[in-house]
């Protein structure tokens, strides 16, 4: 097994073992979305209209808050030092951790989206499209959040700092994600253009995120 796959497998295993954070993101997402109608009111027509926005905001918050501990645990037990001394570039190690995090946090979140869609009265037949926008957009959230997680470790601060640093950077993802989801649900704008831009954002952050995060971790060496 290559070092990349070994790290990916280790992080996924840690996430699903006792004490790991897998499903916690999906749980947070479920609760946030289920809370919205209490604030907005149970008007099904209104919920259907703003449903994609609620789902996307929930996914955004869940993705970012779950990232808080991504490097912190490895930093606290000394693993991060050893991760830096491998023959594999740190950028790849960081990417492996991010992919493992995406697979254990974002994928369950996408899987439960159709159920939440029912509760928000979103049309069943277009639910698949909304889930597809999340599938295309959440990698961007994870990889942008990665930078914040690395900065938080470098600065030795966690928690809300991560969200404050990263949330503004995710605005484009939110704009095009909700636009694509709305286009799929109600139209009249075509689904293609916003969805393509969403995919482009994900691909760009897939490259940019690990590079910036690795740089932040190296800067934080002390």
């Amino acid at each position: 097994m290559s070092p990349f796959l070994a790290l990916l497998a280790r992080d996924m295993r840690l996430a699903v073992r006792v004490g790991g954070g897998a499903l916690m993101g999906a749980l947070f997402y479920f609760i946030v979305v289920a809370m919205m109608p209490f604030a907005i009111g149970p008007d099904l027509n209104l919920l259907a209209r703003i449903g994609p926005a609620i789902l996307w905001l929930g996914a955004l918050l869940a993705s970012l808050l779950a990232l808080d501990r991504l490097f912190a645990t490895d930093h606290e037990d000394g693993s991060l030092d050893l991760l830096m001394m491998g023959a594999m570039p740190l950028e790849l190690a960081v990417a492996a951790k991010a992919i493992a995090h995406w697979l254990t946090t974002a994928v369950p979140l996408i899987v439960i989206t159709p159920v939440l869609g029912l509760m928000l009265n979103i049309d069943m037949s277009s639910m698949g499209w909304v889930a597809l926008t999340l599938l295309a957009g959440t990698p961007a959230l994870t990889f942008i959040g990665l930078i914040g997680a690395a900065l938080a470790v470098a600065l030795r601060r966690g928690g809300l700092l991560l969200a404050v640093l990263v949330l503004p950077l995710t605005i484009p993802v939110l704009i095009f994600g909700v636009a694509a989801a709305n286009a799929a649900l109600v139209g009249p704008a075509p689904f293609g253009p916003p969805f393509t831009i969403l995919c482009a954002l994900s691909l760009a952050s897939l490259v940019l995120g690990p590079v910036a995060a690795a740089a932040a971790l190296r800067q934080g060496l002390e």
Partner: protein, 206 residues
């Protein structure tokens, strides 16, 4: 194979930790770094391991694998054990062996035997005592062959038999041409090791 540090200086948070440090180490030799608390023993090891930048001077490793950096040819044993409690003893070791580029599974068993943890291979690491975690961390040095060992107070948390076993491992490593740089307060069981004494830097930063 030779490791040489010339005129090394290190600065942390605006404070000069050490400066003007010179040493040279050949294969089969050990260097014991001593000095009082805060003299920069740990910092020196982290500088050598590429985990901390040095503010001046140079570090050269000659005669090793050409394309690999010093960090990639070093084992670092710090104060923290890098052991994940929810993974079993062998899973922990297997991960670091694979990640640090060691041979496949075959090296796991002998390495655990070397630190006397073979009987606990399937136990989740959460159950290990501090000394056992330390030994699991040491097993990594045995499982993956790297020429330079950077050991930061390696005997801490170890009982006397384990300290003797570690001394044996270090002698084997030196015998096969490896190098050891160890920070220590007391004797670590290596005869004929050279000593590098860290004192207060000559003059404060202006």
């Amino acid at each position: 194979m030779q490791l040489r540090g010339g005129d090394l200086a290190c600065e942390r948070g605006g404070r000069l930790v050490f400066a003007g440090l010179n040493f040279a180490l050949a294969g089969g030799e050990a260097l014991v770094v001593t000095g009082r608390n805060g003299a920069g023993k740990s910092s020196l090891l982290r500088v050598l391991g590429g985990l901390l930048r040095h503010s001046a001077g140079r570090i050269e490793l000659s005669g090793g694998a050409d394309e690999a950096t010093l960090a990639e040819q070093s084992h670092y044993l710090g104060h923290l054990d890098a052991v994940k409690p929810s993974l079993s003893v062998s899973e922990n070791l297997l991960f670091w062996t694979t990640y640090l580029g060691g041979p496949r599974g075959a090296a796991i068993r002998p390495a655990l035997d070397a630190v006397d943890l073979a009987g606990l291979a399937d136990l989740p690491a959460a159950y290990l005592s501090a000394g056992q975690k330390r030994r699991l961390s040491i097993a990594r040095l045995v499982a993956v062959r790297r020429p330079v060992w950077l050991l930061d107070e390696p005997t801490s948390a170890l009982d006397t038999p384990s300290q003797e076993r570690l001394a044996g491992l270090m002698r084997d490593h030196l015998g096969s041409g490896g190098m050891i740089v160890a920070a220590a307060h007391g004797p670590i069981g290596l005869d004929g090791a050279r000593e590098l004494r860290l004192g207060r830097p000559a003059e404060p930063m202006s």
